[in-house]
């Protein structure tokens, strides 16, 4: 009886500890999808991938991160801009293919698929002038910024599950000019990335790996 109780306790403890251990060192892939065929050098996406990777590496120091280029290589020719899945249903179908599952399963527990961008709307104006005695600027300009990030995180276990998450941050970059223009930037991209990575971590922690 006593042995049985001890065993039960050990099993309960293992059950509690094992998922936590799996989530503590997850293998995460980051992939821009749908990739814009006309803009492979999209600077927003490049910096967003770097930012997400940095934040996820901070959250899981023992985990591993696989960049999008590596994932495209692993699944070539299925994720090129001309051949990538057109819809989320097509993407789910791709992930359920046995050859794709086998390739991804060797390296990844989670696939974070992201897209997004920043819309900017400049307003106001600054006038600058110069003469023999010197020069300077006068005025006020501002740029309204709206950053959106959309993420689908796929847990690549025995059964593939996914969650949709999104982040939207609005802000204004102010540029007052009195003699010299002094920009006060709105860091909407950084804030959206921070919020997005927090949501991804929440999902991963609540869906511990295989």
């Amino acid at each position: 009886m006593r042995h049985r109780r001890l065993c039960l306790l050990a099993c309960l403890l293992l059950g509690l500890l094992l998922p936590a251990a799996a989530a503590a060192s997850p293998r995460i892939g980051l992939l821009w999808w749908p990739a814009d065929p006309g803009n492979p050098t999209n600077p927003f996406i490049g910096s967003l991938e770097k930012c997400l990777a940095r934040r996820l590496a901070q959250a899981y120091p023992d985990g591993s991160l696989v960049p999008g280029g590596r994932i495209r290589d692993m699944l070539f020719p299925l994720l090129e801009p001309a051949t990538q899945p057109a819809s989320e249903a097509d993407f789910a179908a791709l992930l359920s293919r046995p050859d794709v599952r086998q390739r991804l399963g060797k390296r990844l527990d989670y696939l974070v698929v992201f897209s997004g961008g920043t819309e900017s709307e400049p307003r106001g104006g600054i006038i600058c002038g110069a003469g023999y005695g010197g020069g300077g600027c006068l005025g006020l300009a501002w740029i309204n910024k709206d950053t959106r990030i959309d993420v689908v995180t796929w847990a690549l276990g025995e059964t593939v599950s996914a969650t949709h998450q999104g982040s939207r941050v609005e802000g204004t970059t102010w540029v007052p000019a009195f003699i010299l223009p002094i920009p006060i930037p709105a860091l909407t991209e950084a804030e959206a990335c921070r919020d997005m990575s927090r949501q991804i971590v929440e999902f991963i922690d609540s869906h511990p790996g295989k």
Partner: protein, 200 residues
């Protein structure tokens, strides 16, 4: 002095020679020879808008390495055929021959204002029976362009040029693979090969 200056301004573009893993493809059970009829040379691109560098691109060699991997993914057994004697003169004891007969890179220089850099990649691949009868040929191409920002050519010309060429090359190869997979002529040929194997 002149050759020294030329060397100093010539940059070889870093391109990944091959895919990290074999391409994913529902492999056809067939013994196929692979041949290449393209002359191997480098491509020199003179960058006019910025520093005026000569950028050397090893496009043919990289394309050949990539198609080597692609052909190995398409068929269960691939044997590279020697360039001489030509395989058409003495039909090889194989189920077919696949040939890369065109690898073409074209680049149009851009500037910092309104003219983007343009990169076009095209390939042509043909599958033949061992007797030299064409099963089918596939021509695939892809184009990429990039409008550089002010001074970008001084800071990261090699970076964005290699991204454009890699993306266009990969996309053209991916298009070929999908066309090949869907082609009824390939399906008919694969069925004939399978029937012949069963009969042996």
């Amino acid at each position: 002095m002149a050759p020294l200056l030329l060397t100093a301004c010539t940059i070889t573009l870093p391109l990944k020679p091959a895919f990290e893993e074999p391409p994913l493809f529902p492999q056809i059970e067939a013994r196929v020879g692979s041949a290449c009829t393209i002359p191997i040379h480098t491509f020199d691109y003179v960058e006019t808008g910025g520093a005026g560098s000569v950028i050397r691109i090893d496009f043919d060699r990289v394309s050949l390495a990539r198609f080597g991997q692609v052909f190995s993914a398409l068929f269960s057994d691939v044997t590279p055929l020697p360039p001489w004697p030509p395989w058409r003169e003495t039909p090889p004891d194989l189920d077919g021959v696949i040939e890369l007969d065109k690898a073409h890179l074209a680049m149009v220089a851009g500037d910092d204002l309104h003219n983007p850099e343009r990169v076009t990649v095209s390939y042509r691949v043909c599958l033949y029976t061992p007797e030299g009868i064409e099963v089918n040929c596939w021509e695939s191409h892809a184009e990429q362009f990039h409008q550089r920002a002010a001074f970008e050519s001084y800071l990261s010309l090699e970076g964005y040029l290699s991204t454009l060429i890699e993306t266009a090359s990969r996309e053209a190869i991916a298009r070929f693979m999908l066309d090949f997979e869907r082609d009824p002529a390939v399906k008919a040929w694969a069925e004939q090969v399978a029937e012949r194997r069963e009969g042996q």
